[in-house]
Each structure stands twice: as structure tokens, then as C-alpha cells.
Subunit: 385 residues, 2 copies
Amino acid sequence: MREVAVLGIGQTRVDEHWDKSLRELAGEAVLAAMDDAHLSAVDAIYVGNMMSGSANKQQHLGAYIADWVGMRYAEGLRIEAACGSGAAAFRSALMAVASGALDSAVAVGVEKMTDSPGAEITAELATAADADYEAGQGLSFVALNALIMRRYMFEYGWKKEDFAPFSINAHANGVHNPCARFHEPLDEKGYARAPMVADPINLMDASPMGDGAAAALIVPVERLYRQPGVPLVKVAGSAAATDTIAIHDRRDPLWLMAAERSARLAYAQAGVGPEDIDVFELHDAFSIMAALSLEAAGFAARGQGPHLALDGEIRPTGRVPIATRGGLKARGHPVGATGMYQIVEVVQQLRGDCGETQVPGAKIGMAQNIGGSGSNIVAHIFTVD
Amino acid sequence: MREVAVLGIGQTRVDEHWDKSLRELAGEAVLAAMDDAHLSAVDAIYVGNMMSGSANKQQHLGAYIADWVGMRYAEGLRIEAACGSGAAAFRSALMAVASGALDSAVAVGVEKMTDSPGAEITAELATAADADYEAGQGLSFVALNALIMRRYMFEYGWKKEDFAPFSINAHANGVHNPCARFHEPLDEKGYARAPMVADPINLMDASPMGDGAAAALIVPVERLYRQPGVPLVKVAGSAAATDTIAIHDRRDPLWLMAAERSARLAYAQAGVGPEDIDVFELHDAFSIMAALSLEAAGFAARGQGPHLALDGEIRPTGRVPIATRGGLKARGHPVGATGMYQIVEVVQQLRGDCGETQVPGAKIGMAQNIGGSGSNIVAHIFTVD
């Protein structure tokens, strides 16, 4: 396999983009990444997206976006792995370039959720769960996560307010990210009075939907014309794993086996361990997922994830900085785009471009994107010279 | 890139499978391919599918099918490129194995269309066209192809009945394929009296929808334990290209530029030309597409595709055998599965397993899968020792 680097990144703000179509959002991110990379053409476009067929009545996003950004005739396809679609698209683009089949590729995650009314989007999101045995019984995604969180609190003795620091950290960091959906800080009082969505998950435990697109352009290092002054971010590890699609089929519903496996594989490829990771963009779709991700990726012992948050170790200056640009909670969670936002944000950290929430001296970063209730997890590790 | 071979294939019959779920169909094909390959585990599952999110209320097919076939924890994702999803999934699996990232992968195309009522599936299929400028104006896929066919007849002086031999050949071959949807032969009279769908496309110019799944298991040749008595089918070329998603944006709507480009790239990789191809499984979703595909892939001059059909050269004993197992017309067109059926059928031809419709001495075969109105085309060339 050829060594691959991220040469350019681009993103739109996560927001309700009533004035922009799906292709305009994706196009903005792709063209920004190409501009950042100083490249005017790429061999292929890999689009991570979950719901455009239902929410926007548009599929076939490979051809659709390639055409829109002036890449007519380039290769183009869509990758779907539920909320893990973004990182899955990046991984496929990565393997195509690493294999030698392509000399450049852009991976873009895009989702335009606000075209779909509230109740419909809840049903569309539920297509990431088992249609027969979960969604068909009326289990929405927040309900599935509420079951996990309740069990977790029972098993390990946590109280609801112990999860507050996850959301508070995310909102504190999002304030400084112009692409974040929310720029309002949150405190304990705000968390405590948030309305309950699905007990014990309240509104401040749940990430907001939104419209947005984020893109990264990758090239093999051997073909690289380095840009003066821009640190070179390389892909050091990439792995993916699935777990049962239905939670009730797992031996231990409180352990993200697919996160453990994909993280372990990525660590082995990169020759690092959790202790070497300077910044960790995890998939805090719900605060319980942040805790489980920290544990499965090796940053905390089983059942002990909230300790890192309560001790302040998840802040940009802590031991395991997470959600440094707001995370899913404050940057927002446009589902098929989220994995690409995480990758873009890790690259920003390794380039040292994060201002107020810059992790000091960040050299190694990891992004972990989750599809479904932990049923498809993609991990990437990046390094900078 | 590592050289890659198809070690196993599997397929279900294309039919109205009211008694089987999406995962049961996919599982049947995947397990048959693994059985054929004598392998009990694979590193990853790549699922080609277009419409499960709307037609079956189930997305996230990577995890969904990996779980079902007992591949828990394997990598799994879905690839969507409209009707080209099947071959796009195969190509992504191929690059992952060729890159060295994976040592085995199964690509499965699956679609269960009959869960969705007639009018709805027409709208779902139209999501492969431009939602704003084509589908939004009421243009269904058959209507788009009717516009192309009418123009083609006008430009090159063909009569409607000149297209009959495409459908007659497909049905004659489908009779002998147990996995084909239709086993009834068709003659000129039957073609002539077929009801008009969208003038000039009649019911016998159009491929039928259906439910089905087809799979291929690939491994690097260097890791191969050859099975005695089974010819080894290698992937000699793989390429993909897009064109504008909307037909009106093309300089020449009668020329499949993405087919020309992907075929040329695949020919160059394989070191062959159209004259070397012994069997060509093309995308005869409509008979006009068969003509255009023959031309763009270099088998006929511009506007002259129907000559090959009228001269009998597309039959299994002709110069360019197409639709040798029934093609989209008679085997059926379960959209996201179709590209994988084509690949499975080429492998069957190169193994010499096609009985009555076996192409004598077939050594080199090509599969060409089209997404949208020619807007995304994937070509694969296979060889056998």
C-alpha cells in the first residue's frame, strides 16, 4: 500500500441551510478542499451520505456531485454506513489511492436533513437500526441510546448529572468553531434544566441534526508537491468493524466491540497506543456514546468513561481532548457528513489551526465514527511531521 | 496493486420473492459464494444496493448483512451508484483487496423492489436522475430512455422493429438460465404486439424489475489455494467514469461517454481491445441502451449498434455475445444487484458453466454496468487461464 496524505480540507457550517441544495453544500466543501490542496482536478469523488434518497429525493450522489463541481467523467460513488458514512467514504477513497488505482480522490460527507419534516427524519434515521426487530417495534435512535444509558447508569452506579461535563466541554469548544451549529456555552444549570427527550437522555445529551458538508482530498505521499508552510498530515491507520445491527443480539450491550476492534487495528497500523493520541474526535451523538467510545478505544476502564469528563481530562488541555471543535453535540450531527467533519477537525488540530481550542503540540490524532447503535465503527489515525 | 481473482460466486433467482426478506436474499448469495470458494470467513462485505432505505425501510446494509451471514465484526458498508451499484461495490471491494488492506472480500448486489408499490418504485428509481431538472419535471427512467431512443431512430434512420433482436436474443438465452426471471422465448410477433410503455419503448424493450442478489468473493492471487478442476478467473481490468447526471447537459446524448472512458481504461489495464472480448455482459435496461453500449465500448460504429443484433452477432455463437444468461431484459433487473449478476455470469462463461448458451472457448469477458441514464458506468474485464 502507498502512504497517503491529506492535502486539502473544506467544510460548510452545520446549520439549517434552507437556501442551499444538497449539491451546493457538497460542492462548497469539495471546492474548498481542492482550493486548500491547490489542485484543480481529482480522479474520483467518494460521497458519504445516509438519507438523500428519502430526505432529498436524490440518490446517485457520485455522478450528481462530480458533475456539479466540474469533475465530469471522474469516478464517483456514494458510500453508506448510516451515521458512519462519512469515515467509510474516506476509508474507501483511501484504499483506492493506496492501491495505486487512483492518484487522487476527494471524500465528502454531506447530509441535508432539514428538507425532511421532523417525524419523517426520525423514521429515516431509524433505518440504521434493524427494521424488523428494532425500528419496527417503534424504537427510535434516541430510545435505543436511552436503553443503553439507563443500563450503564445501573451497572456502574453513575448519576445523570455525571454526564454533564461531556456536553459542557462540547459546547465550550463549539463557541470557537465558526462551522459549529451552536456557539452558546452550556453550564451545569443549563444541562440540569434541559427537557427530557427519552429518559435518561435529555436535550443536552443529544446531538442536533443539521445540514452540512465536509471534505478531504487525499493523494499518495510519493506524488506529493508539498506546500510551504502547511504541515503535512499523513494517514497512519485506518480500520473498520461491524457489530450486530440489533443491540439485543450483543453479549454485552455496554461494550462497543466494533470500536475496540477498529481502534486496535488502527493503533497497530500506526504503531501507537491510546497513550500516544493527542486529540480524539469521537462520536458523541449522545453523551453515553462518548463514555462508551472512550472505554472501547482504550482511554478508560470499563464503566469508567465519565471519570475522564468529570476530571476535566477531555478538555483541549486535558489528557484525552475530545470534541475539540464542538463534537456532534455542538458542531452538529448531519449524519452522513459527521465522519468527514471529525477528520477535517483532526487535520485542523494537527496543522495547529484551532486557535482557542488548539491542543498544544498535537502530533497524533484519531477520529472514530459510529454508524447505528455501535454497529459499524470506522477509526482513522493521523500524524504530522 | 496485487492481482485479484474471483474465487467464488453465488446468486438467487430474480423473481418476486414475497417469502424472503432483503437479508435472506443477500445471505443466500453471499453464503453460496463462500461455499463456492470453500471459505468460511471473509474480511469485509461490500453491499451494492440502491433503494433499501425507501423500499425496505432498511439502510446500513453492511452491518445488517455481515451480522446475518455470521460475519459479525467483519468490515461492512453499502455502495450506491444507482443501477450501477453492483459493479461499483465489486470495484470498491477489489481496490480494498488489491491495496493490501484486506485479504478477502465479498461483494454482493441486492435489491428487493417488490416490497414497494408500483408508483412508488417508479419515483424511487427516478432518484437516480436529477431531482431538480429531470425527476422534478415528471421524467421517469423509461421516459428518459424513450427520448434517447426516439432521437437515435431519427438521427440514424432506424425503425422500431430493428431493436427486436436485442430482446429476442435475451429471452432466448434466459430460457436456459435457472436464475433468470423469465424463461419464455420471444419472437418478432411477440415483440411487435407488446404494449407501448413510453413511445417508442414497448414492454419488450424494457427490463423487468425484480428481487434478487448476486455475490462474488475475491482474494489476492498470491494468497490463493487453487481449487482443482475449477478454472481460475482473474480480474484483468476495472474502471469507472461518470457523465452529467442530466441528459440535457451532454454534448451528445446519443453517446455514452462514461462507457467509452471506463471501457478504454479497462482495455488498457487488461492489454486487450474490443476484438479480444469473447463475451460482453452489457446493461440492456432498455434495448436502446444495448445499442449505445455496443457503440461506446468499441464493438460498433456510431449509430450502428443494431446491425450487430440484426446480423445475429450478439448471440452466444456470434462475434459479440451479449445477454448470454438473459441480460437485464430476461434475467431481470433488480437494480442494485444487476451489476453483480453480470459479473457472476461472466465468471460462469469463463468457467465454461453455461450449457446451452455457453460461448465456445470464452477466455476474456467484460461486464459493463450503467447507473442512471449513462451517468455512471463501471467496466470490468476478466480472464481465465
